[in-house]
Symmetry: C2
Subunit: 410 residues, 2 copies
């Protein structure tokens, strides 16, 4: 008699975006002429850059020719792309990453979701709160949590990350074995300082914990006082796994390519205390349950590292960052309190006193026809905040801010 993995039934419904969609649909039905602007969506809108398009066409032609056709590629990714990652993303930061520490994949979501498989079920996981839901949900499925009581999972250590602590969470007071940090952060748009990240690496070393470092938004960083890679921090190679993506760097959300770095020094223990490298374990996981990224997609990702590709993708990021500035400064100009938006495409708006996330969401939708994302959807400490994103068009971003400026929050 086949029996199910009952941990799945501990998962909370992911009602956030469904609820938003329902509210927007109802509003649109009641107000068919309303010109709704969407600043809730976390997806890019600018097309792939010309250098990437050229590389795709060229690779497609290779696939149509017997001489240059490619069948199964290496599960870890082609060497040409792993080399580009090592030489263009890490060497300029003074970081040495070996080719066999780079694992090309179809998305940071896949890697962040699958990495927990390498760990025993009784590891204790810490997540910042609010947080990208995959860190938590993949561990719920993996049996590392209890049930959710009022939306809070047993066994999981939540690290509140709010204006009160300047979006820099305190260290856990209880035992923690695996910590997820997202920097620049989704949804708050904030970064952790270099000094604080050094303390996190040291904390992980002292506690023999693994640091899962998600830097999917690295390309948006402007601040000097943070890191582009966790491996800029001394000692990180012993404790940290880094997740990077072409999704936001190069508009690959529908093109699908990312990579994960698993340094050979990162280890965890067996129950008998023996240290085991995670690098060969992840390699075995990928070789067994994954067959690599399409050849043509890997050539597209490689093109992001060319002179033209870099220039073109950075122009797109500058465009989104200018949107972020417009939103941030526009909201500040009317006395609202905002965070993020400097090192990330996300602006984290504090709801005026007495308003919940959903109150503010409803107000923006009903009064000025703007769709946002309620912060409470990202975790209990997101209550009282709203996420706005910089991925819209310039025109809509400007119009949205002009509309919000007509509101009174007194």
């Amino acid at each position: 008699m086949a029996t199910v993995n009952e941990n799945y039934f501990n998962l909370q419904g992911s009602f956030l975006f469904a609820n938003i969609a329902r509210k927007v649909e109802e509003f649109q039905k009641a107000h068919p002429d309303a010109d709704i602007i969407r600043l809730g969506i976390g997806d890019v809108t600018l097309p792939l850059v010309p250098a990437v398009i050229d590389a795709l066409h060229k690779a497609v032609d290779e696939m149509g020719n017997a001489e240059t056709f490619r069948g199964y590629g290496p599960e870890q990714g082609y060497e040409f792309l792993r080399k580009a990652v090592v030489e263009k993303d890490y060497a300029p930061l003074g970081i040495t990453i070996a080719l066999d520490e780079v694992f090309i994949s179809d998305g940071a979501k896949s890697d962040v979701g699958n990495i927990q498989e390498l760990f025993a079920e009784d590891n204790i996981v810490a997540i910042t709160d609010p947080v990208y839901p995959v860190y938590l949900d993949s561990n719920v499925m993996g049996g590392r949590t209890g049930k959710a009581i009022d939306g809070i999972f047993e066994k999981v250590v939540y690290l509140p990350t709010t204006a009160e602590n300047n979006f820099s969470p305190d260290f856990p007071k209880e035992r923690v074995d695996i910590v997820y940090l997202c920097c620049p952060n989704n949804p708050t748009g904030t970064v952790l300082s270099r000094a604080r990240l050094k303390e996190w690496v040291d904390w992980c070393k002292q506690n023999d914990a693994i640091l899962m470092f998600d830097s999917a938004y690295e390309a948006f960083i402007s601040s000097e006082d943070t890191v582009h890679s966790i491996y800029e921090i001394e000692g990180a190679r012993e404790v940290a796994i880094e997740f990077r993506s072409f999704s936001k760097t190069a508009g690959f959300t529908g093109t699908r390519c990312a990579y994960t770095i698993v340094p050979k020094e990162v280890t965890a223990r067996t129950k008998d205390g023996e240290r085991k490298q995670l690098n060969p374990m992840w390699n075995r996981r990928q070789c067994t349950k994954f067959n690599g990224v399409p050849y043509i997609i890997q050539r597209a990702a490689e093109a992001v590292y060319t002179e033209d590709g870099y220039k073109q993708t950075r122009e797109n990021i500058a465009y989104y960052k200018e949107n972020a500035r417009i939103i941030r400064e526009g909201l500040e100009s009317i006395g609202l309190t905002v965070f993020g938006g400097v090192d990330a495409p996300y602006i984290w708006l504090k709801a005026p006193a007495g308003m919940t996330s959903w109150d503010l969401f409803d107000l923006l939708l009903e009064k000025v026809h703007i769709v946002s994302t309620p912060g409470s959807g990202f975790g209990p400490s997101g209550e009282g905040y709203l996420r706005l994103t910089a991925f819209g068009s310039r025109e809509n971003t400007l119009r949205a801010i002009e509309r919000i400026k007509t509101l009174s929050f007194k």
Copy 2:
């Protein structure tokens, strides 16, 4: 203190292809002029067909244009592709599959590897022997096996599949909760009859077991007395999950697209005996840990279903099938015993009496410079067999058989 999933250390090294590569390399070094022909490789060699190439170019252009650019797509795959699957792969067989029972993915390997996550750790797994290694290895990682003793895993039920039982395994005598069947089979190239598959579906129903039906080689079927889909069998919707791939159907091994069917009737039980549908569980798994297949790749897969795409991909399959016929009949003409090769690109050669798989591998390499795959590498019951594949060029296939005909096996 982070601790590892120790099940990983129960995995056996996958030495098969590494051993083959080493032997071939050593031989090549000792005989630099030897013209080696590779009939061991399980990868396609013909390029993508023109209809697919055209669809790829068109989709790439869409991605370069703001009006037609696609960001995140549905995790389950675009409706245009799921519709094509339902209407072109299933409707002609008289099978009704709902759109939300189709899950597009980056590969059958991923789906076959990940599906075990839906089940509790104490399910008992049965695999045919010899077998594609992913069924076993993914369950080793998931903790459903004990340790391997002389290459045989505790707790796993092995179903010998050899000439002695006409490659139709007996039903398990012990408790089994999940059965993996691959039909047409890799590595034996054989199929199960329609009547036997009906018995398997009935057996699964009687035993409340799940049937994982891998039909990655379906496009190669010529025989009348087997099925193109397990859902041709009455009752299969209640017990079977079907895995299909564009890898061998359309030469997508380096292009990466596949799909899995999870009918809504398929259920497994909680420990309390409550039946749970697997369809919403797999949907949740994919939505949490996967972000869909690249848009351009889904358009490429869609093109396989067009009139031109179908015609062109079937020509390639006919080419490989003719290679298979040449190998099969060539070997039979010198008195060798062969199986498969009619409904699959694989020919399963019985080693002459007294020879092991590796003996015959060595003989072919050393005497006629042909690379094959020893059957013993696919499981204990593969001992005494050799897998040859039809994916080479016509010229090399013909030359290989002429060479083998010069050998004497008396």
